[in-house]
């Protein structure tokens, strides 16, 4: 209509006028006055008497109020003004009803806050881009042996070299492992987290040094000068950020490494949770370096960067072809193995993801319940305001204006609730961080940052729309007539509204049931977990780890000698009852799984899985840990390095592999280098232990004497009634007396270790229970509100009934029927939903089925009981209604 320039002018004028309303009013009033004066003058000139002149003038000019109002409307920004007016009105209305406002804001704050907190965790761990450039191109490449049940494991260096050479889909590939080496020469010997890598790693991950340089391919050649790159944090912590460190050497496991560079603190790979670490070339690692020539073994973690333009199926196809080729060329090590790839994120997340998504789903349900509660509150309030609305309608407000104002009120409520929720999240996230299990990656990155904030804002808006739509729908149909009538405030609540509120309350119960069942199942599962016997004694057992630097303790004989000496000294310590050595210690140290052959039995068919867990132990191990000896004998000092090789197997191994015969006397072929294929005679059978995790059933296990298969370190298990501090001091003392440069690490009581291993399960159970509790309270509030209001509405009816002779019991029955209906409907809808939802818990629940009837009945009864309790007060109030007062009350 107007040219764009004109529109701009008009807007500018309106804006200016809007900013100076008083001035505008004053000016216009002045103008009108002057105009009026002119008219009066004119009339006087025509000979009219003063009074009629003024009256005539006023008529000619027109109604002043109307003119001023027209002027006001034409000159300012009506939309903005309406909004501001509505907001001010809303704030006033909310302040008047402080109880309602507080309740609504609190409810919403809980819902938004909890969701924001959980989302911040989900975002930091599952969604945020990994802290490496172009991380979406990075993939983890692994070997798979489906038939032996190996889902994903590493490569050997020899195989990796072939892979790297033959593959064309990846622009770069590198291998990595983690180790702990002892740093000496700088104060006390300290253990540093070491990442052992092939030299291409830094280029692969797009890292440039802060000072100095990163690895070059020359650094990876055998015989090259050992070099190391430090992480910035380690550099600051241990070397005071001294730039002169470049070129100097530090001792790792008693061997000199030259520091050539520092990388930024943000780079953490492959140990994403370690902020202080250093990198050395694979070839220089005391342990893994010696494994490099072997083609067998699966220990190197491979990461590759997919070339742009190469699709996943293409890359997979190429890897399949390479796997076939490797199987053909090197059948002994690679036959039956395939190669897979997964985005790098999977490496860090693996099983935490499902737990987090379930928690997010649960907390979303809590928000839904909150919204239902607030909608209920709003509906109740709408009823009591129906008179006010009717009056406004009569005064000329259009329906759209009223609805707009109510929506503004809802929006203001939503804004306050959302802000409070965000504040709650800010407070709650650090608390959440502190109870998270330590196995979770990137824990330190969990915080309320921009994206999380955005999520909170969007969620608040969505929630506001949800609970705001309900009362808006009903208010639109307000019947003005009935509302204005006497008593309209109460009786005016239409049938529809009562039904809606009951439906909402029932819905809250259904959702609460879903959460309660999930929490109940998690709790039972966790209880089962804690009750599970690991198969060995844990009380009063302290575990400690000592690593032997391979450059000083070069031969297995020296390792064995060290361990013997240490055991002897520890036995001699007063207060320490018994000490055993075990590598790996059950549950504490993960597990080692080796393939084996039974001498004399037919060769394992391709497809038959012949692997078992492995541990190398001192002779008194079974005794110290209370593992029963079921047949044959335990190891003894005669099973020395030069003696014939022996082994002891677990009960389940005996059952599975020797079902119809006595295993004693048979020979097994297995082991770690240097005598991997040595035949070992089975001399004993012991009870099963849960060596992998408390929740995992024990599998076949084989033990060898430590003297015959020593390792480069020792894990001592000390049984003692003394305090951990005393035991730890004793261990350190004895270790230092043998070699003062050996640090003792990871000292912990076995019960604590087992506790930590269940940390994730506990975390999930804790949070779900918390959410279920909140849901329960909210649902109870919902029921309370609905029944209370129903009673208040029906006060008249109750009064009449009582006056006509109804007993208190009859009134009780009448009100209870309503409670029953709502609760019953809620449970009826809730039970199938809860059963369906609990199936999603899947592997998270151990020892209980997802459809466990006992748990379901228990939580349903709990919910019903709480609902009954919530409705007790209003129901009692109903029975105490005095008919005279009720009938008078209008």
């Amino acid at each position: 209509m107007f040219s764009p320039l004109t529109t701009l002018f008009i807007l500018a004028s309106r804006l200016r006028a809007w900013l100076t309303p008083r001035q505008q009013d004053h000016d216009f009033a002045q103008e009108l006055k002057t105009h009026l004066d002119f008219l009066v003058e004119e009339n006087l000139r025509h000979g009219m008497p003063r009074e009629s002149a003024e009256r005539a003038a006023r008529i000619t000019l027109g109604g002043q109020t109307q003119l001023e109002e027209t002027h006001r409307e034409l000159r300012g920004l009506p939309v903005l003004e309406t909004l501001i007016q509505d907001t001010r009105y809303a704030l006033r209305a909310l302040r008047k009803n402080l109880a309602f406002t507080a309740l609504a804001i609190l409810t919403l704050a809980l819902g938004i806050g909890a969701n924001t907190a959980i989302f911040s965790v989900v975002y930091a761990i599952l969604l945020k881009p990994l802290p490496y450039p172009n991380a979406q191109q990075l993939f983890n490449i692994f070997q798979v042996q489906r038939q032996e049940g190996v889902a994903a494991t590493g490569f050997s260096f020899a195989n990796f070299a072939e892979l790297r050479q033959q593959s064309k889909s990846f622009s770069e590939m590198a291998g990595s492992q983690r180790h702990e080496l002892t740093l000496t020469g700088h104060g006390d010997p300290t253990v540093v987290k070491t990442s052992v890598v092939t030299p291409e790693l830094f280029e692969l991950m797009g890292q440039t040094p802060v000072i100095g340089r990163i690895f070059t391919p020359q650094d990876g050649q055998p015989g090259a000068v050992p070099v190391t790159v430090l992480s910035e944090n380690l550099w600051r912590a241990m070397f005071a950020a001294n730039p002169k460190i470049i070129g100097t050497s530090i001792n790792l496991d008693k061997r000199p490494f030259t520091v050539v560079g520092i990388v930024t603190a943000k780079f953490r790979f492959p140990q994403i949770n370690q902020s202080e670490q250093l990198w050395i070339a694979l070839v220089n690692d005391p342990l893994f370096g010696s494994w490099m020539p072997n083609r067998g073994g699966h220990w190197l973690q491979i990461t590759g960067r997919l070339k742009p333009g190469v699709s996943l199926p293409q890359a997979q196809a190429e890897l399949d072809a390479i796997a076939v080729r490797l199987g053909r060329e090197f059948p002994r090590e690679n036959s039956g193995w395939t190669i897979g790839l997964l985005p790098l994120r999977q490496l860090f997340v693996f099983n935490v993801g499902s737990t987090l998504w379930i928690l997010l789903g649960a907390v979303a349900l809590v928000l839904l319940i909150s919204c239902a509660n607030i909608a209920n509150l709003l509906l109740a309030r709408a009823t009591s305001r129906s008179r006010e609305i009717a009056v406004r309608t009569t005064l000329g407000a259009t329906r759209s204006r009223i609805v707009r104002q109510l929506l503004t009120e809802t929006a203001v409520l939503g804004a306050f609730g959302g802000l409070s929720g965000v504040a709650l999240a800010y407070w709650g996230v650090p608390v959440l961080r502190s109870v998270m299990p330590s196995t979770v990656p990137q824990v330190n990155d969990i915080r309320v940052d921009t994206w999380v904030l955005l999520f909170a804002i969007l969620l608040s808006a969505a929630a506001t729309c949800i609970f705001g739509s309900v009362p808006a729908l009903f208010t639109a149909n307000a019947n003005v007539q009935s509302s204005l009538r006497e008593g309209g405030a109460r009786a005016g609540e239409s049938r529809n509204r009562r039904t809606a509120r009951s439906v909402l309350a029932a819905a809250e119960i259904s959702l609460a049931l879903v959460l309660l069942l999930a929490a109940g199942l998690m709790l039972r599962s966790f209880a089962k977990l804690t009750a599970m016997s690991p198969g060995f004694v844990t009380k009063h057992i302290v575990r400690a780890e000592i690593s032997l630097p391979q450059f000083q303790y070069t031969t297995p004989q020296r390792w064995a000698a060290f361990s013997d000496e240490l055991l002897a000294r520890l036995q001699a310590e007063p207060g320490l009852q018994q000490t055993a050595i075990a590598v790996p210690a059950p549950i504490a140290d993960g597990f080692v799984n080796l393939g084996f052959e039974i001498v004399g039995h037919p060769q394992a068919l391709a497809g038959a899985s012949r692997t078992a867990d492995y541990a190398t132990i001192s002779p008194n191990y079974f005794q110290v840990l209370g593992i029963p000896l079921l047949a044959g004998r335990a190891f003894d000092p005669h099973d020395a390095m030069i003696a014939p090789r022996v082994a002891i197997i677990s009960q389940s191994m005996a059952h599975v592999y020797f079902p119809n015969e006595n295993p004693l006397g048979h020979q097994l072929k297995f082991g770690l280098p240097p005598d991997s294929g040595a035949p070992r005679e089975i001399v004993g059978i012991v009870g099963d232990v849960r060596d992998v995790a408390i929740g995992q059933d024990p599998g076949p296990m084989m033990y060898v004497p430590y003297a015959q298969s020593p390792v480069w370190g020792a894990v001592v298990l000390v049984k003692s009634e003394n305090s951990t501090a005393a035991v730890s001091a004793a261990i350190r003392r004895e270790v230092a007396s043998i070699d003062k440069d050996l640090p003792v690490t990871d000292i912990a009581q076995m019960p604590d270790v087992i506790d930590t291993s269940m940390a994730q399960s506990r975390f999930g159970a804790l949070l779900l229970t918390l959410f279920a509790a909140v849901a329960l309270i909210l649902a109870a509030t919902g029921i309370f509100g609905v029944i209370s209001y129903s009673v208040a509405c029906r006060t008249n009816e109750i009064g009449i009934r009582v006056a006509l002779g109804a007993s208190r019991a009859a009134i009780l029955r009448m009100i209870s029927r309503e409670t029953l209906l709502v609760t019953g409907a809620g449970l009826a809808a809730g039970i199938p939903s809860a059963l369906a939802a609990s199936r999603l818990l899947g592997h998270m629940i151990v020892g209980v089925s997802a459809n466990d009837p006992l748990t379901l009945i228990a939580v349903a009864l709990t919910l019903a009981a709480v609902a009954a309790l919530a409705s007790y007060l209003p129901t009692r109030r109903a029975t105490q209604v005095d008919p005279i007062i009720a009938l008078r009350h209008e």
Partner: protein, 114 residues
């Protein structure tokens, strides 16, 4: 919302205000209203206050400008004057009107004859 005036009347009033200011030079509200009444030979008897809506609109559209001054009998009044944009608008609209009234007249003449 104020009772709907017909848009034609609104537009016409704006036009007459412009015409008045163009012919008479700067004027205050009363003067403009009086003049319009005179010219239209009392055929348009409005509440005089209604021109203030037109004046406000025209000021917003920058077709006229306003400033405070003193009237001939020493009264403080707001004087309005036409701007160049206003003059252009007036010219365009006048041409339009003439074209339309010419067409209408011709049609009527033709109808009358038949």
């Amino acid at each position: 919302m104020p009772p709907e005036k017909s848009d034609i009347l609104q537009g016409t009033l704006d036009l007459m205000v412009l015409q008045t200011l163009d012919a008479m030079g700067p004027q205050h509200g009363y003067g403009i209203a009086r003049r319009i009444e005179q010219i239209s030979e009392q055929a348009l008897q409005l509440n005089q206050g209604t021109i203030y809506a037109s004046l406000l609109r025209l000021v917003q559209q920058r077709r006229i400008s306003a400033s405070w001054g003193t009237s001939d009998n020493n009264r403080k009044a707001k004087f309005y004057s036409i701007t160049r944009a206003g003059r252009k608008q007036l010219q365009t609209e006048t041409e339009n009107w003439q074209r339309i009234s010419g067409a209408v007249a011709r049609i009527l003449r033709t109808a009358g004859r038949a």
